[in-house]
Symmetry: C2
Subunit: 432 residues, 2 copies
């Protein structure tokens, strides 16, 4: 029986430092749980001279990935570098060398997850990736195991802590996007180049992973429609509140009759549903399934310790199996008979804010334009007039309408001479 | 390789009917997930003539447990009878006959769980019990696997749907306990004898299970202090709301330095924390852990389909292992070095409502009595006077105080000639 399982760590950034610290400082605790020692055998870094949040013995540090992958003492490769290149290559090589994998890499798992799982099955090794979505909050495990008897029909998730922090600031401080972003950057919640977060790219990766597991069909990040939060204005939050909503960057996926729709965008969320109350850097994933109904998982979605919590739990799970000489059955079988519907097929309600000329007949023209496209107005909520400029702001909510029709409408509205500006269009999500 | 795994079902009530229905009506789905057929080989009932929510072929139905336990085609015994007797006996016999176990039985798992897991390990079989807490909402699996790298410091849970429904009615309808209970009974959310639910017995079972897993120490239901919801008055909800709280039946467990405290009782919960928003028959478990921080699991805690969701998922997990010829490592090792502190050691804040004589000096006497016991008043919130009767209602919140002191105080207060009635005492839970 093996008494020690060797860990090779790829990356010693925020998460890698947290993982190394846990393995070293909690060695006894981990040993007790795993049934054997988890021994850190090597750490790949780009720049060994860089100061670290946690110092590993320099004898373990290397800049050559071969030192990790070719080391026979390494049983499990823990990849916490992030990004597709070169992480994907390293993971593939590691699997082909019979190493088990623990990864926190959402981009790799979104793009290549099913391929990696297939390769791993062939080689008889495990690929674990709980940390790739919602940090330390359990969601991958529950989808693969605890909810497995269900047919899952939808996911509604807040899975980007940076944008949730920014939106929470915009709600509570009444600040605009730029100020909220700057505050998030100062606190280290947003990167200096925030594109991946604020444009929904990160959330789309995670939604692709969740959808693939939930619907048991390959959903790639390129299948996910996405729209960021940069267009949101402080005014949108004011109107949302008046209407009984808050605004969240939602990752939504639905499955019906073998057709999946998956989209990430800002959405009006009714103030009284649980997701509306998920604030700051918290993440939350709501799963709707036929047997269990709605279940919600909430917790920290990022950070060194929460992410290391999931990474080390995965490593302990693998170590237990190595010690027990167990090759666990593969829990994921993907169906080929699922297709992804284009965003233009979406049907939802919309919030629409327009700046128009303030004169008679304007609203009638807008209403007719929308009506001709089968977009029915549920209510016109606000009409603020700037008398000096003879302009008015019209805020309306529609009944359910097709996205294709709304796209058409936006084009036609912006061509209307009486419409000065299409302020914003935000989809409205309702819970029964 | 085995192509079929036999299921013996003990009990065909609400949950049993849901399990049987799932195994029969979703046979293909289950087969695909398990990698083999899950074949219903027998069903134990007390009264075969009773009408059922789901009819199983009469050839499978028996009143003799031996027909299930001695049937070599039965690999997995699914126990959904509830109650300790005779379920515990049947489970022990089944394990000794090398059957795997799936159970939804919180009473058995609270009282004998660790013994059953030890017995199962010796026999090389699995005991799965996800359905025993929070119905289909995943919490056992996450504690055993996904959060395993953490030291868990506390649990705050709403794990009895009946009482949460009753309390939600009392909040929103302003009705008293008796009316709310009657409404719950009419809807089938409460039993005709509601003792187990309203006295916190059911929640104490579940908290014992959660604490045992979270703290990796044997916590029995008899270790859990409990107090039911029957003393709550509509007035308490009014005062709670004014003070910015709601009232929930909370199951709380804390672990510090090897000492566990576990208690179930009504508690003031600040209106802005997530648990305050868990309404109706929903359950929620909040886990606080050193690495991940706070994570919250919310979902339906009872009902045929949600509970069957967890039971069948456990059965699928076992079937996968049978097909893969895998004996999974035992995830739970219990420490012997943990003790349970008596309730008198608890330190918390209190809400106290007193009916007193309305004359000068009364409040001073009460304040002195409390002060002498080291109970410091944080605020006196309300003082409603009944001028005709010359009586007043005093509502106060204390700072943190010891339970032993408060128990003393209640005794002494009720002896004071100026105190007509100690209306209610409710513990106040705060989140940082």
């Amino acid at each position: 029986m093996k008494t020690s399982v060797g860990i090779g760590l790829l990356g010693l950034g925020v998460v890698g430092g947290g993982v190394a610290r846990t393995l070293v400082e909690r060695a006894d605790h981990v040993r007790q749980l795993a049934g054997c020692k988890l021994s850190l055998e090597g750490v790949l870094v780009r720049d060994p001279s860089r100061p670290r949040s946690f110092d590993v013995p320099s004898s373990l540090v290397t800049t050559r990935v071969e030192d990790i992958l070719d080391n026979p003492a390494v049983d499990v490769v823990v990849e916490v570098m992030g990004g597709q290149t070169p992480a994907l290559d390293y993971i593939v090589k590691a699997i082909s060398l019979d190493k088990h994998i623990v990864t926190a890499n959402k981009e790799v798992m979104a793009k290549q997850g099913p391929d990696l799982l297939t390769l791993a099955r062939k080689k008889g090794v495990q690929v674990m990736f709980e940390a790739s979505v919602a940090g330390g909050t359990p969601i991958i495990g529950p989808l693969l195991r605890d909810l497995v008897s269900n047919e899952i029909s939808s996911i509604h998730a807040i899975i980007n802590g940076t944008t949730n922090y920014i939106l929470t600031q915009m709600v509570h401080q009444g600040v605009g996007f730029d100020d909220a972003l700057r505050a998030a950057q100062e606190l280290g919640y947003a990167e200096s180049d925030p594109t991946n977060d604020v444009e929904g790219i990160d959330a789309a990766y995670k939604l692709a992973i969740l959808s693939t597991l939930a619907f048991r069909a390959r959903i790639k990040d390129s299948d996910v429609y996405r729209e960021g939060i940069t267009r949101l204005d402080a005014r949108d939050f004011l109107y949302a509140r008046e209407l009984g909503y808050t605004i969240k960057l939602l990752a939504i996926a639905n499955m019906r009759d073998g057709v999946v729709e998956a989209h990430v965008h800002p959405a009006f969320v009714p103030s009284d549903v649980m997701l509306a109350k998920v604030e700051g850097v918290l993440n939350a994933v709501e799963v709707e399934a036929d047997m269990v109904g709605r279940v919600l998982f909430t917790g920290p979605g990022a950070g060194a310790e929460p992410t290391a919590s999931a990474v080390v739990a995965d490593a302990i799970g693998i170590a237990r199996n190595i010690v027990g000489n167990v090759t666990p059955p593969t829990p994921l079988r993907l169906s080929e008979n699922v297709r992804v519907s284009p965003m233009s097929d979406l049907e939802t309600k919309y919030y629409l804010r327009l700046n128009v000329d303030d004169r008679p007949g304007v609203f009638a023209r807008i209403a007719k334009l929308l009506g001709d496209l089968d977009i029915s107005i549920a209510s016109v909520i606000q009409k603020e007039t700037d008398e000096a400029a003879q302009r008015a702001e019209i805020v309306m909510m529609t009944h359910r309408a097709r996205e294709a029709a709304m796209t058409n409408a936006l084009g036609l509205l912006s061509e209307l001479d009486v419409v000065n500006d299409v302020g914003n269009l935000v989809r409205v999500e309702e819970w029964e």
